[in-house]
């Protein structure tokens, strides 16, 4: 963990972290409701309970940094500047959305924000962000990258190839393993045999660290340190974050296979509640201010959803357009 103190970061930034998590939660809770009301086409996959990871890392980063978020990383999109409106457009398959209705739910990104749109094939984006960081640095920008990956996805060949590749070329990418204990219905014990996934770092000749994935404050401080460190001395790092998937793999999944004690344990460590009380204690974001943010994001979500709903879906006549780029 970082040696720096919570006070070294100004309250505006902490509010942004809190807001990012709260907005993500509010959007995702809405999406969950919409799904169960039958108002969403396709699946809904959330990062509820895992908001700290994306919020802390994306908000600790600099303007030219690059991100490859995964299924649970709404906070990365939001932390990098995506609007709630765009998120609803994406989920509702609107022509105005970031993929113009061509792709769904978690599969979107934003070039201007440095955020890549994930493909579903687990592990495939790790090498993409690695190459993108290589390119930016070659162009004289001091970019670093963050690639998020689940505990289950560490079993893919792509995970291995990408981390090794980044190590060989000293590419400053944080490979952030979000260990939420399950890959769909499959628990860690049926996925790997190492004690912790960070044990893989040595095999790539890189540093490995563990962090509490539900503690946004400590994670933010750590991410700041790591990013400035690898920005200066370029190299990849493996960072394993302990967290828990608090709902099903997707909303179609009742997650009855998850032991209730595990859910309770992590419910008591909810990242938003923890950050709120820690920041209040430190005198950085008072309870009232946090409540305000909460109210704001709820009304933002209402508006965004309503607006997205009114926008048009893609015109079928555009189906064939843009398979190839013109330039």
């Amino acid at each position: 963990m970082s040696e720096r103190k919570i006070e070294s970061v100004d309250d505006g930034r902490w509010k942004a972290v809190l807001r990012c998590m709260m907005l993500s939660r509010a959007i995702e809770e809405r999406l969950v409701r919409l799904y169960h009301q039958g108002r969403i086409f396709g699946g809904v996959y959330t990062g509820i309970g895992q908001e700290a990871i994306g919020a802390a890392t994306s908000l600790a980063a600099g303007p030219s940094d690059l991100f490859a978020p995964c299924i649970r990383n709404m906070t990365v999109h939001l932390g990098r500047g995506e609007t709630s409106l765009n998120v609803f457009r994406q989920y509702l398959g609107r022509a105005s959305g970031p993929t113009r209705g061509r792709d769904g739910n978690v599969h979107y990104g934003c070039t201007a924000n440095g955020v890549y749109a994930m493909i579903s094939h687990l592990g495939a984006m790790l090498s993409v962000v690695t190459g993108a960081v290589m390119a930016r640095r070659r162009q004289g920008r001091d970019a670093v990258g963050v690639a998020y990956i689940g505990d289950g996805a560490t079993s893919t060949g792509d995970f291995h190839e990408a981390v090794n590749f980044a190590a060989v070329f000293d590419v400053p990418v944080i490979f952030l393993i979000e260990n939420n204990k399950f890959a769909y219905s499959t628990p860690n014990a049926e996925q790997f045999r190492c004690k912790q996934l960070v044990d893989r770092a040595q095999g790539y000749g890189i540093e490995g660290l563990c962090a509490d994935g539900n503690d946004a404050v400590e994670l933010f401080l750590l991410a700041q340190d790591l990013m400035s460190d690898i920005r200066q001395k370029p190299r990849p790092i493996l960072l394993e974050c302990d967290t828990m998937r608090m709902r099903g793999h997707g909303e179609h999944d009742d997650f009855s296979y998850v032991p209730r004690e595990l859910l309770e344990k992590y419910a008591a460590r909810d990242p938003i509640a923890q950050a709120r009380s820690r920041l209040a204690e430190a005198g950085l974001v008072a309870k009232a201010a946090a409540d305000d943010i909460e109210l704001q994001v709820r009304s933002e979500v209402d508006q965004a959803y309503q607006q997205a709903l009114e926008e048009p879906v893609p015109d079928p006549a555009d189906l064939m357009e843009g398979v190839y780029a013109d330039r």
């Binding site: 061509r102 792709d103 769909y184 189906l319």
Partner: protein, 327 residues
């Protein structure tokens, strides 16, 4: 004999269940296929009935899953591997094209493994959960490729696929899983691989198709019969490799007009192979050009408005048939 009504999905499960009962050398594994029953619940209840030794989860490692199946198959087992979606098998093409396929030819070993792979769209799966990749598998020497359209075929063909001494790609259509039901005997005989089936007689044109499109073709045929008194033959290929050229030629002989329909991409799709077959072996029987109705060469789009435009259906088939007959 007592009869039951079964969905396509239940029929596959019944076939698997019988194989597990009768054949101790049959194993079933894949991501989440254990207690959870797989992403589509095809294997629900099988681990409970047959034990973790016979039905089990694996890490998210498509290449290792298929590689291990090759090892098991060459040692006398009959592994059945579920890919969560056919799309994800693309991380392990070399294990099929270069390992499972050529092993018998190179070494004389038999490789009785089966890959079960859910295919197709129509439900908002987007680009990575809706693909149809049969032509890619059909290119590979040494593989067999099966794609049932009806519950009874699904049940009889999974049995034959698993009992075949060769690697078989058994494609399942996700749309059909719960949309198609059939009243059938609760006992069954295996259905041999390699035989197409005439699902509907006709004299004015033949539709050569398979998978979900069989049902769309039948719908189109009924409509044309009612509206225009055209009688359309519909041939369900059922096995795509090795395919039943004789039935195709007989169908062309009887109808002189050929429409080929599939759900996947047009360019280099399996329809091209059927067209080439007919153009080579039944050219003199044709009264009109051979037509293909297939998906355009674009990634499978997410939004319903786009996916509807993308995916072939009874309307598009009907239109093409009218053009073909009135050529």
């Amino acid at each position: 004999m007592p009869t039951v009504e079964m969905t396509y999905l239940e029929a596959i499960r019944q076939g698997l269940r019988r194989l597990l009962q009768e054949r101790n050398e049959v194993l079933l594994y894949g991501e989440d296929v254990g207690a959870f029953g797989g992403a589509f619940k095809v294997t629900l209840g099988l681990q409970e009935e047959f034990g973790k030794d016979r039905v089990f989860n694996t890490p998210i490692s498509e290449s290792a899953m298929i590689g291990a199946a090759i090892g098991m198959a060459t040692q006398g087992l009959r592994p059945v591997v579920e890919l969560q979606f056919v799309d994800f098998g693309m991380t392990a093409v070399h294990q099929l094209l270069n390992n499972a396929g050529p092993t018998h030819y190179r070494t004389g070993l038999s490789v009785p493994l089966t890959i079960r792979a859910p295919c197709g769209g129509g439900f908002g799966g987007g680009p990575f959960h809706s693909e149809e990749l049969e032509s890619l598998f059909c290119l590979m020497p040494g593989l067999k490729v099966v794609y049932p359209a009806f519950p009874s075929d699904a049940r009889g063909l999974i049995y034959s696929a698993v009992m075949d001494p060769n690697p078989v790609i058994y494609l399942e259509n996700k749309y059909l899983y719960r949309h198609v039901k059939e009243v059938m005997s609760d006992r069954f005989d295996p259905i041999p691989l390699g035989l197409a089936r005439i699902c509907r007689p006709g004299r004015d044109a033949v539709v050569l198709t398979y998978g979900a499109m069989v049902h769309e073709a039948l719908r189109a045929a009924e409509r044309l019969s009612a509206e225009k008194h055209y009688e359309i033959m519909v041939v369900d290929m059922r096995t795509l490799k090795p395919y039943d050229a004789e039935t195709v030629i007989a169908a062309v002989t009887a109808t002189n007009r050929v429409l080929i329909v599939h759900e996947g991409w047009r360019t280099c799709g399996f329809g091209a192979e059927l067209a080439a077959l007919v153009a080579e072996r039944a050219f003199h029987l044709l009264d009109a050009p051979i037509r293909r109705v297939a998906a355009p060469d674009v990634p499978v789009p997410f939004a319903p408005s786009l996916e509807k435009a993308y995916r072939p259906d009874a309307d598009k088939i009907g239109e093409a048939l009218v053009e073909l007959i009135e050529y």
